[in-house]
């Protein structure tokens, strides 16, 4: 018997749960191995682990256990009334719980009202969905137009033909280049090195690029 095995048998050895042969082999090992013997002694020195005695204080509570359990079972029966078997229903009765009432027959009037309400809800949802889709389409078209304009402006900038004063007038912006003074330089008056390659240390950009 090796030390690893001993370590795994300390509890049953101290609880007298080992077969005689194994307990004898373990005792022999402990006589020869002070390390294992120390480990067993540490565990043996543990204070006794005993359950607190609560029988007196809990007896009143336990008296109400069955009553509460019946309520709980009745609740579980009612929650699963649709799936409970007739056998379970009979048992519920014996436990003082009335069996779940049989499912009421479907009433045509309420079923019709339910169907009408459901249809109304579906129509309202469909209408709302259509309206929303139209609005999305409009916004997408508007965005596409803006994209096209931006691409044109980019081309003008790259080609050096960009003139902010020539920007198209759009709704709500009567004076477009408000951020540019009247004396702002035109592309023609910009110095030659305005679009020179820029060095960022590790990487360099050879020429201005527009990423789409």
């Amino acid at each position: 018997m090796n030390c690893w095995r001993i370590e795994n048998l300390i509890a049953p050895f101290l609880d007298n749960e080992l077969p005689d042969a194994e307990a004898g082999a373990m005792a022999d090992h402990l006589e020869q191995c002070p390390e294992c013997s120390d480990k067993v002694e540490v565990v043996a020195a543990l204070p006794e682990i005993v359950a607190p005695d609560l029988s007196e204080v809990s007896s009143a509570l336990m008296d109400s256990f069955d009553e509460c359990l019946k309520d709980r079972i009745a609740l579980s029966e009612s929650l699963f009334a649709g799936t409970s078997s007739s056998e379970h229903a009979a048992e519920s009765m014996a436990w003082g719980v009335p069996s779940p009432p049989p499912a009421p027959a479907a009433r045509p009037a309420s079923a019709t009202w339910l169907a009408v309400a459901a249809m109304g809800l579906l129509l309202a949802l469909a209408g709302w969905s259509l309206f929303t889709q139209q609005r999305i389409d409009e916004l997408e078209q508007s965005l596409a137009e803006r994209d096209q304009l931006i691409r044109q402006l980019e081309k003008q900038v790259v080609a050096g033909r960009f003139d902010p004063r020539a920007l198209p007038q759009t709704a709500g912006s009567e004076v477009v280049p408000v951020f540019l003074p009247a004396s702002a330089p035109t592309p023609q008056t910009l110095p030659a090195g305005a679009f020179a390659p820029i060095s960022y240390g590790m990487a360099s950009i050879d020429s201005p690029r527009i990423v789409r």
Partner: protein, 199 residues
């Protein structure tokens, strides 16, 4: 003069009926069998939940849940079905789930209404006694162990289950019960005597 040997004969109690006897009764009357099952194990299941949760109201709730599940367990009275191990296993799992999800308890107790109010006083009394009876050092040391180690120590020394019953409850081999229990006790000793364990 030699002392005459005295043999204590236990009084018949609901706890003394065997599982096989309950199963035999279930063949004729399932309700009677379930009633006996509840009376046999309700205290032990409640205490087991109490040792883990340290809260009487939660333990009571767990014990109730365990027996509701037992009521709906179709295999409960089948031949070879280990009722005690099943109850302790469900109880252990329930306890750790409930400790993780405390909101759930509120929902169920709310549905029980006035009974909860009546029981509250009793729960408080039990919590108070439990706090006094449990050694603070031992309780602190146990709470520092892993859930596996804490469970197996509670099953063995608080619930007084045999090694085989622990194996059935935790669905592990007998050898694993021995080694896990040995390691759990070694860890517990480290917790209670940290200055020596770290030398």
């Amino acid at each position: 003069m030699a002392q005459p040997s005295l043999k204590l004969v236990p009084q018949p109690t609901p706890q003394s009926i065997t599982e096989d006897e309950i199963k035999a009764i279930a063949a004729r009357d399932r309700n009677r069998a379930f009633d006996l099952l509840v009376r046999k194990y309700r205290d032990r299941i409640y205490y087991h939940a109490l040792y883990i949760t340290k809260d009487s109201a939660e333990a009571f709730d767990v014990a109730q849940d365990v027996f509701v599940r037992g009521y709906h367990e179709s295999r409960m009275f089948d031949e070879g079905f280990k009722m005690k191990a099943w109850l302790f296993r469900v109880c252990t799992n329930r306890c750790y789930n409930i400790v993780r999800d405390k909101h759930r308890r509120g929902g169920i107790l709310d549905r029980l209404g006035k009974q909860t109010d009546v029981l509250t006083v009793q729960h408080r009394a039990i919590d108070s006694v439990l706090a006094k009876e449990l050694s603070k050092e031992m309780a602190a040391a146990l709470s520092n162990l892993s859930a596996d180690h804490r469970s197996i120590l509670i099953l063995r020394y608080y619930d007084d289950l045999s090694y085989q019953e622990i194996a059935d409850t935790l669905q592990i081999k007998l050898g694993t019960v021995m080694s896990r229990l040995s390691r759990a006790k070694a860890r517990l000793a480290e917790q209670l005597r940290p200055e020596e364990a770290t030398e």
